[in-house]
């Protein structure tokens, strides 16, 4: 069995792509390489921001040794929770993307595909437009993430239920029902936009571009278990996802509990993406981009892919967010713009590479 899987690895179209340089760096010690990148990104995110603080001040504040209360506030109330939320959301989105790509056996799959992100957007738009009318005076602060999460979960559940035929989850049905639900959710979101005033319309627009600006310690506390627990479960799915790469029937013949695997992938992805989207809005391209980069470096075996993807996703989002709040300071760019700005060109290169090596 292991021999078969190793064969898949070497035969994979992606590992066949001509990214020799990247592979060379990565192959020697990929975990150390990505972990180092994450540490650098976290340091940069804590040290660089619109408020100019010396590196020494940041370090001192971090350990409550500083004498400058302002530096301590900036580091502890603003940069640290934001960096932590960035790490968690980045890891959650990237791993969800890897899981979805494995489930659909399609490298172009985004974690939003089974309707989680559009469902969450619909929930968020509903709160932005109707929140104050239905619950006057209630703080939108907590209602918005809650409804976005619920929206994502409900839609994902509906997609999943519709795709189960006689106890078997049909992947193609999952895809098609996902597309249908996405269309319905977008229509509902569009209708809410129509009902909204200018302020609400702007809120919806900015929400769909993603931002970590709302990061607070309470969010870190709520989000951490929501992402970390699914993340810790995913390694148990690794062998099954590798086998699934061969095809559903083949994986079943190899003795993998395929139905259980599909259920778990859907559940974990829904929780992770729902949680991420609820606190940060729609941050584009991390789920699509990061698993690909990691696959190019270490190959498609999920055992290594999942932890590295988590580290890589965290690195990209923390780094992108550092740029987002620094580049137009004292204003702030939506972080989704930065991740897409990095992700878009990469996606193009990837497509061109695939066209050459795969003749799509």
């Amino acid at each position: 069995m292991d021999a078969r899987l190793r064969e898949i690895e070497t035969n994979s179209a992606l590992s066949g792509a001509k990214w020799i340089a990247l592979k060379h760096i990565g192959r020697s010690n990929p975990v150390a390489f990505v972990a180092m990148a994450l540490v650098l990104a976290v340091i940069a995110s804590l040290a660089i921001g619109p408020v100019s603080l010396s590196f020494e001040d940041v370090l001192k504040s971090l350990f409550h040794l500083g004498t400058d209360p302002r530096a301590e506030t900036v580091v502890w109330q603003l940069r640290l929770p934001r960096t932590l939320v960035g790490m968690i959301v980045g890891a959650g989105l990237a791993v969800s993307g890897a899981l979805m790509q494995g489930l659909f056996r399609n490298p172009m799959v985004d974690p939003g595909l089974i309707g989680i992100a559009p469902g969450a957007a619909m929930g968020a738009a509903a709160v932005i437009v109707f929140g104050n009318r239905i619950f006057p005076g209630l703080e939108v602060l907590y209602l918005l993430p809650l409804c976005a999460f619920m929206g994502g979960m409900i839609v994902a559940l509906m997609v999943y239920r519709a795709a189960v035929i006689e106890g078997r989850t049909s992947i193609i049905m999952l895809l098609l029902v996902g597309i249908a639900m996405t269309a319905i959710c977008s229509a509902a979101t569009g209708f809410f936009v129509h009902l909204s005033n200018e302020r609400q319309i702007r809120d919806i627009t900015f929400w769909t571009m993603g931002s970590l600006g709302g990061a607070r310690w309470e969010i870190v506390y709520v989000l951490t278990p929501c992402i970390l627990i699914p993340l810790l479960i995913t390694p148990w799915l690794a062998r099954g996802l590798d086998a699934l790469n061969l095809g559903e029937r083949e994986a079943a013949y190899l003795g993998f509990p395929i139905e259980k695997l599909k259920r778990w992938v859907c559940l974990l992805t829904a929780i992770m993406v729902g949680g991420c989207v609820a606190v940060s809005g729609v941050v584009g391209f991390i789920g699509l981009l990061v698993p690909h980069v990691i696959r190019l470096i270490v190959g498609p075996a999920y055992r290594r892919l999942i932890p590295l993807t988590a580290l890589g996703g965290a690195t990209l989002l923390v780094f992108a967010d550092m740029i987002a709040r620094w580049i137009v300071a004292p204003a702030e760019l939506p972080v989704g713009i930065i991740t897409s700005l990095i992700g878009g060109p990469f996606f193009l290169v990837l497509l061109i590479q695939m066209r050459r090596s795969l003749t799509l």
Partner: protein
């Protein structure tokens, strides 16, 4: 405020009634120093602060603060009113943060409060009297005596009201926010435009919906407005007024055929700052050509 001052204020208050309470308030603050580094989020608040003479103390404004351009253009921008970032604001070292209660994203005000930046939150609505409340709030926060400005704006508003209120005839006015791509975005109820139209002695032509929404050509015709009101920016982006007039939805309106089209600067018309009385009067002169306009003094804040 010490005891002597209070007694003095109370004595004047007994003698002069309501106006003295404003005086008391202004006296109490006149002795404090104006905050040196002021950051403002909210266009009307910026306009009031500059009119009060605090322009040189501003160190940052949001992107809705566009007037007066000579003051706000060179200033660092802290982003759009609804997408403020705490660290960016903090990086300007403000000694006073003046924010509209419309600021966002949700939670930003609490976040800023927890950073212990001296902050004043000013409630904003699309009502004419809110302008007076804003002048009081901004002057208080800046420790500037705002009485003369408040009296001036109140006098201007009273002068406009005295001419508009007796008018029985209320023409229907349609405010077109944008005509991009030939599609009309028209003001409904609960908009700044609807408030201004009502204050200037008109009726908003569209009362079927709230906010600014795309209006179908047929509904535009069915609403039969007596006047069309547009912003100068709309005309500018369309190229020329004739381009807008030739749009099917507009061309079939009798108001357009008769040339009853008013074009006003959006910041001036919908700013809800100290220039509000002048803006309302300018609009009233368009939709009520027969009125005898009151004389409004040329206030210092009328010049950018």
């Amino acid at each position: 405020m010490n005891r002597r001052q209070f007694l003095e204020g109370a004595r004047i208050g007994l003698g002069l009634g309501f106006s003295a309470s404003v005086l008391l308030w202004t006296q109490g603050y006149a002795q404090r120093a104006i905050p040196k580094r002021v950051v403002i989020a909210g266009g009307a608040l910026t306009e009031i602060a500059v009119a009060l003479g605090a322009g040189k103390n501003l160190v940052g404004v949001d992107t809705t603060s566009l007037y007066p351009p000579t003051v706000v253009d060179p200033l660092p921008k802290i982003g759009y009113l609804r997408t403020l970032g705490a660290e960016g604001i903090l990086s300007l070292n403000p000694t006073l943060l003046l924010v509209s209660d419309q600021a966002g994203p949700p939670g930003i005000l609490d976040q800023l409060r927890s950073l212990k930046v001296p902050m004043a939150v000013v409630p904003e609505t699309f009502s004419v009297d809110n302008v007076r409340a804003k002048i009081i709030a901004v002057a208080t926060a800046l420790s500037i005596n705002g009485k003369s400005m408040l009296d001036a704006v109140t006098a201007d508003l009273t002068a406009v009201r005295s001419v508009i209120n007796p008018i029985k005839d209320r023409p229907k006015v349609m405010f077109i926010l944008s005509a991009a791509g030939g599609r009309l975005m028209v003001a409904g109820t609960h908009t700044a435009a609807a408030s201004m139209i009502a204050f200037a002695g008109g009726r908003n032509a569209i009362e079927e919906y709230e906010g600014y929404k795309p209006l179908s050509n047929e509904s535009a015709v069915a609403s039969e407005p007596d006047f069309i009101l547009m912003s100068g920016q709309t005309v500018e982006s369309a190229g020329a007024i004739d381009t807008i007039k030739s749009l099917p939805a507009i061309a079939s309106l009798s108001a357009a055929k008769a040339g009853r089209i008013a074009i006003m600067d959006t910041l001036y018309l919908l700013g809800f700052g100290p220039r509000i009385a002048h803006a309302a009067l300018d609009l009233a002169k368009c939709i009520h050509p027969k009125i005898i306009p009151p004389f409004l003094p040329n206030r210092p804040w009328m010049h950018a």
